[in-house]
Amino acid sequence: MSEKISGAEMFVKSLEKEGVEVIFGYPGGTVLPIYDKLYDANFKHVLPHHEQGGIHAADGYARSTGRVGVTIATSGPGATNLVTGLATAYMDSVPLVAFTGQVPSHMLGTDAFQEADITGISMPITKHNYLVKDVKELPRIIKEAFHIAQTGRPGPVLVDIPKDMMVLEAEFSYPEKVDLRGYKPNYEGHPLQIKTAAQKINQAEKPVFYAGGGVIISNASQELRELAEKAKIPVTTTLTGLGSFDEHNELSLGMLGMHGSTEANMAISNADLIIAVGCRFDDRVTGKLEEFAPEAEIIHIDIDPAEVGKRVSIDVPIVGDVKSILQDLEEKVNAKKNNGWGKKIKEWQEMDCRQCEDVGEQGRLSPRPIIEEIDRLTSGDAYIVTEVGQHQMWAAQFFKYNRPRQFITSGGLGTMGYGFPASIGVQVGNEDEEVFLLAGEGSLQMNIQELATVAKNDLPVKIIIFNNHYLGMVRQWQEMFMDKRYSSTCMSKTIDCPPHCSSPGEDCPEMVPDFVKLAAAYGIKAEIITEPEEIKPALKRARAEEGPYLLDFQIEVEENVFPMVPPGGSLYEMILEEESQ
């Protein structure tokens, strides 16, 4: 009979068995017994400065490494601060295990101090969750949580542990295997469906791949490339699919959807066959659903049966692991020298009209050269992490991604405040790699407290602010669809400004905060950049710095993201540039 150990010790041992190398966690009353054991644990603990920062960091770690991200928070407010992070990870299928402390079992349901029903709250935004009711079950639950998080379609799993479960003792044995009666993901595609799909691909004249984040999650980039190159099929990717297909490849069409490239959206709209891989026909991708790919038959490959046929009816559904299905398809698909697209895609590419100027109309910086300079200086190899908004779309459009897991962004939930903490997780998981955070001044301030985490851990994240003094994407919609009524989107606006103002200009108040001074308060080097000729030298200085560095680029105030499919519009009805409105 083995020795009895406490639940807190079991927790540490179980995580060691899972090969966890780092956890992002924030202590508190109900997790004290676990924190006492973490004090001597063999894996690393990173302390964020808000639980939301912790879970986004675990998410960034998971997306960039492909491993399970682990976070821990205390009960009540600690647990509720995880909610946005769980929803973010759930939407983008990120493998996370979140542990929360809970009030002791005998106090559950009594509105005890710092009690919140986090299993109830997180039910719709987790793949599964647990409330530990018997310390003997803790190892099995942890084993299952890690299994569920990373198999099938990955997602976040929450384990709520009452404080007494950390103190009570039991014999510890970590299960080798998981047997869940109600959870058996299917990995193999149906052979008949694969055969039908291969026939359709062989017959198609104008096929297009529409690749999503599932290609990255399934580690299927190589299979996608081999199949696309063999059958000469152009590839467009979703926002979360960026990097699944090298954008330098001549078959790459870039991103599709609301802010997708002209060639991607036109190819989808004119295709006779869409091969949708690891994606879910999000409304930002499809535009007006009835007019999405009007002439095409659709093959949909995904591991989640519930995604197949959810929004679009599918001609050839194939449920299973993207990687193995693409391998099977490759054997059955004929090699082609060219496809029926001819010069069409080239013509659409030439319609590209996206801002190439160094300076905008107001003499402030244009975002495109900044992103292209980062691409050039890092030979396209840096990790690019973004917040949410205009800068996110520019990052998607102007950086040429060459490998999976390189572009880290909150796609489905569109979480402002995600990027900065996520960049911490990316840097922790990839110590020797360059990590650039591309942020708006709005999003960055949603988790600005993480400057302390970056500073104290000397994480060399390069923070690049695209500062237009506006919540730019919302302002763009107000400009285009609401008569320039800039309601609550101006970041410089003070109590002394007129209540209505649609004309930002020289007399506007200085924006707070002064990011350079703010960074200095944390001991982080920073510069404000206003001149185009300063872009390159400033980026070089940032890269040369061994620690973190912040660059506050003052960009054009009323710059917009184009092309744009207006909300509810069809993909082929893109607004290409300012003048054409």
């Binding site: 109830g120 599964h128 009666r181 519930a306």
Partner: protein, 159 residues
């Protein structure tokens, strides 16, 4: 169209909350739901009656199947099956009407389970149509209170 869906789930705390939360957030329209233990102590069975078209039902079944605590989902709408629900009906009854009511109940193979001075309580089991018919016939006497269970169903024969 109405569908009957049988769902085998883990018999543990929180399962009904998970299913209810799923229906509410995905906008599925549940007409009735009944849940109880099965021949196995660790398995419960939920019988759902839901309204929707073929596509809605397909999504509902797939979303249910995604739940870790769901073991099996079967749409048994078109299978030969025994469908049952039960109703308790309290009807006004006096000296002159009581025997008529008892006759009606007998015809429906229901039972009088309680008799008071001015009312009787009727228990009736059967498919939806039978219970509706019973309700209609008792209505003229004055229904004081009525409670119905959700439907339970089982396919006939081997299936």
């Amino acid at each position: 169209m109405k569908h009957t869906v049988a769902v085998k789930v883990a018999n543990e705390a929180g399962v009904l909350a998970r299913i209810a939360s799923l229906f509410s957030r995905r906008g599925f329209n549940i007409e009735s739901l009944s849940v109880g233990q099965t021949e196995r102590e660790d398995v419960s069975r939920i019988t759902l009656v839901v309204c929707g078209n073929k596509k809605d039902l397909e999504q509902l079944e797939k979303q249910l199947n995604k739940q870790v605590i769901v073991y099996k989902v079967s749409n048994i709408t078109n299978d030969p099956a025994v469908n049952r629900s039960m109703a308790l009906i309290k009807v006004k009854a006096n000296y002159s009407t009581r025997s008529e009511i008892i006759q009606i109940v007998d015809v429906f193979r229901g039972e009088i389970v309680d008799v008071a001075n001015d009312s009787v309580m009727v228990e009736v089991t059967g498919d939806e149509g039978k219970i509706n018919a019973m309700e209609e016939l008792l209505d003229p006497y004055g229904i004081i209170e009525l409670v119905r269970t959700g439907k339970i169903a089982m396919t006939r024969g081997k299936k």
